[in-house]
Symmetry: C3
Subunit: 162 residues, 3 copies
Amino acid sequence: MSSAKEDIHQVVLRYCRGVDRGDLALVRSAYHPDGIDHHTGFDGTVGEFITWLAAKIAVFEGTMHLVGNHMVSVKDHRAVSEAYGIAVHWGNPADDPSVNFSCGVRFIDRMERRDKGWAIIERWASREWTRSEVGTFVAKGAPGPSGSRDDTDPLHVAMEWL
Amino acid sequence: MSSAKEDIHQVVLRYCRGVDRGDLALVRSAYHPDGIDHHTGFDGTVGEFITWLAAKIAVFEGTMHLVGNHMVSVKDHRAVSEAYGIAVHWGNPADDPSVNFSCGVRFIDRMERRDKGWAIIERWASREWTRSEVGTFVAKGAPGPSGSRDDTDPLHVAMEWL
Amino acid sequence: MSSAKEDIHQVVLRYCRGVDRGDLALVRSAYHPDGIDHHTGFDGTVGEFITWLAAKIAVFEGTMHLVGNHMVSVKDHRAVSEAYGIAVHWGNPADDPSVNFSCGVRFIDRMERRDKGWAIIERWASREWTRSEVGTFVAKGAPGPSGSRDDTDPLHVAMEWL
């Protein structure tokens, strides 16, 4: 994989980790300062997006943005990136479909390489399908590791060791 | 990643993009002209497969073929590729399970490198599980970007800029 | 991608293939001999984990561990790896939620490179969400390739050719 493609891949992954761990600085780092975002229910600058996202994150107990297929077309310092994702959202009350749903999304990004590296200048979070998860989520059945948005998350515990 | 593995990865991704965007030429490009495909409900040559697929695509409003794990074993100009996927299908009427389902699939491919590069000579689309989505899909709740099979798709809009 | 990251990616994929194909030696190869695993309902050494896993696998008809986002931080011979996954489990009876469920998992691994290469020294399988699949799985509707845990699996058939 070319260095550009790998760098662009990391931008996409940073966004997902940032949202899921509630790390807004990490989300912001995926965009150039003049970046623009188009989401379901949102259109605006990255600054406005971060504000919107912070409020969204607060209404969910947790989210998971899994991405797969990633195709990138690079032309000099510009690129178009498409990443397929499934985003799972859960929250309270459990019977509220606005906080318990999964969706298929394609993150379609115009990216540019500037002094600080590759980042998004315009993103379309294209919503492909939406599935209600009301009545489907259940307890996991036994104790074990689970995620959070604070420093008790297993990722942060593991990173301490490094 | 070796160049062969990366090239083979692109073959798998081209197939998915081709199906989901309704770009049959792109799907066809993933196979050598004498390629063979084994799908749920289909066995035949790539030419026959494209005909079968065109009819299938027409009955769905949309599809999303997300792939993850990709393991490749390369031996000279031959390779075996396995890619895990989740394929989501939606269509009308919404209560028809034959056009509203998700499935787990493993794309297991014999690939060969010829003059025009790596492509599939035989594919098994191994169906692991199938889930009805009748009664689960819901509207996305607010306006925003969404996919299509024509040139209004956000991918094509972004590519114009490149 | 650096060689370390690619090697670490293969460790994660070997684990998934090993579990899904019932190849416990392949699962074991993802860990160093003194490795430790933390799962929902399990904490112990890799040896104990393999025993626990063998019993778990036996109660399911099949499983599919699809992974996407993979972020790795490498420092010399040590690394922290995070891979996002969706694990689908199916079994009998079909109305038993303990053998028919999907879950979101993050595999968070401390890895070390030793003489035999990179492998896990400690894994947290962080369970993010769990969804019952009772009443959702359906027959696939037509004949076609499907997976197994024996040498009839399409992967093994394809590998014979290589």
